[in-house]
Amino acid sequence: MILKGIINAFMPGNLLMALLGTTLGIVMGALPGIGSTMTMALLLPFTFWMSPAAALILLGSVYCGATYGGSISAILLNTPGTPASSATAFDGYPLAQKGKGMNAIGISAMASFIGGTAGLLFLLFLAPPLADISLLFGPAEFFLLTLFTFLIISVTILKESVFKGLIALSAGMILATIGYDPVSGNVRFSFDISYLEDGIQLLPAIIGLFAVSEVFSLIEKGGTISSTPDAQGSIWQGFADTFKYPRTLTESTLIGSGIGALPGIGVSAANIIAYVVAKSHSSHASDFGTGAEEGVVAPEASNNAVTCTSLIPALTLGIPGSSSAAVLLGALMIHGLIPGAGLFTESGEVTYTFIFGLGISNFCMLLVTVLFARLLVKITVVNVSVLTPIITSLCFIGAYSLRTSMGDVIVACVFGVVGYVMRRLRYPIICLLLPLILGSMMERGFHQALMISGGSYGIFVQSPISKVIACMIVLSLLWPVFGWLRQRAAK
């Protein structure tokens, strides 16, 4: 059945779908606010006349391509096309500023290829056992895992002061509580403004924190994004540079694969977690944020690994690991394929064709990069007088388009000012953003766990998984103390 899947995936029609989907995904992923979910949702009606395998390959390739495509605008314009590329901007953009835009795109493409291919192997061989592990995570475990994620990122992101990270984190947590309470449904902190009843929306917040704040910086700076317009680097050098960091590559791929297999956490958090983990063990951690190649490898390997492994719970349990996986799940069902063990037995031929089709999409990603990257990198030598209104306009339509709400545009502007001030004072933006992504899930997990236990806090240290995560939380809180002791010992 696996062999049949490989042969079918290489049929001309399926190859064409993989190339078309990947190219479309890269272009749409690079446009802020469009992303994979919206593109897949728009393409879904056009797949009705296709064979199930071709339809799934087209949609899956859009998903993979868009995840990588988001990194292109993150690197060249400091505007992540999708939340999956938030962390790529931290070092990708400084590399572009140094005239190494091509290298950064090369690194991004190769890391995405490796992460995506490894994620596919996980999907192929580890789908059933990993799905079983994710079933062991109840509300208490999800709450603890989220809390651990918050803390480890806040205390390790900035060496100069852990308080900056923690203040941004707690402020982000307050922002995440605006709107409907995820458990009782009560409205909080809305000030009778109907827009705020739905809470702070993630997409305009991301556009504001990263893109709008960058517009402010560009207005101040002037000139061009790249300070060395003649030295744009080499894409092949970028491909080669990726392999200089085998540990980061492996670790980030594993982080992405693991997170993708857990429903709910998703690609938005994975790239940030991988970035912070890479920074924490890097021998040149101080270079992070100023154009470290490792800082591009980590998020890109992890986010493309997530795209593949987020299909594990979707295909085996019918639980999507991300919003794009949910669209893909819908496509599966529309084409008469029911998630579960049957997908790998009765419908195995279609499923394996789809999985190998995603593998081909990964190769297409490299091909499209080699063919068009030089054209894309030209953006970095365009005068910012031209770029500023164009980026602003993309921010506007990106924030507006998802819910057709002017409120989202205003939120993007407000977050732009906040992001700009945070940058100037060296407060980590990720720490403010992370609670907006995971805050409601954490709060829901907390209350649901207490409801299950009848109000007893003992549930948070009841299961073996809870105990392990609780220990990790304590260790993360002690992290700054370890750092201080290490410094003293060094002196």
């Binding site: 203040i167 009782s184 002037g222 007088s385 031209v386 057709t404 002017m406």
Partner: protein, 151 residues
Amino acid sequence: MFGGISVEFSRKKFEALFLVLIAGWAALFLRISSDYAEISRLIPRIACAATLALVAVRLAQVLFGGTDGKKVTVSPKAAWFALALFVGYIGGTYVVGFLPATAAFVALVMWFSGYRRPLLVVGITAGYTALMYILFVQVFSVSLPDSLLGL
């Protein structure tokens, strides 16, 4: 772009002001949260209390600790330009519609930020606005914001 006029603040004062604003906002939310049911107020209260405590510690660090002596440079001209840029664009969209506002906005920003090549400004503006129309209206069927003039 706006190198001419700039004002320097000490980073210490700038950060202290930022922290005071965060503390005021957290205190306001802490006060408001006391009106909510217990299940709804627990997490916000913890977050507000944690923010206040952390801000207090950081404020002490900033005010009484060593300072790096660095300055934060702000250009009032650039700040006003950025503000006018966003308010003008949103307001323009509200009055004349997204596409005419985008065309006017792109052309005006390019011109006033020093890109004085009339043919290129017109060409880029027309090309970009047409691309936006084709991509977002024709391909993605995104419904653009309503305007007073209905354009």
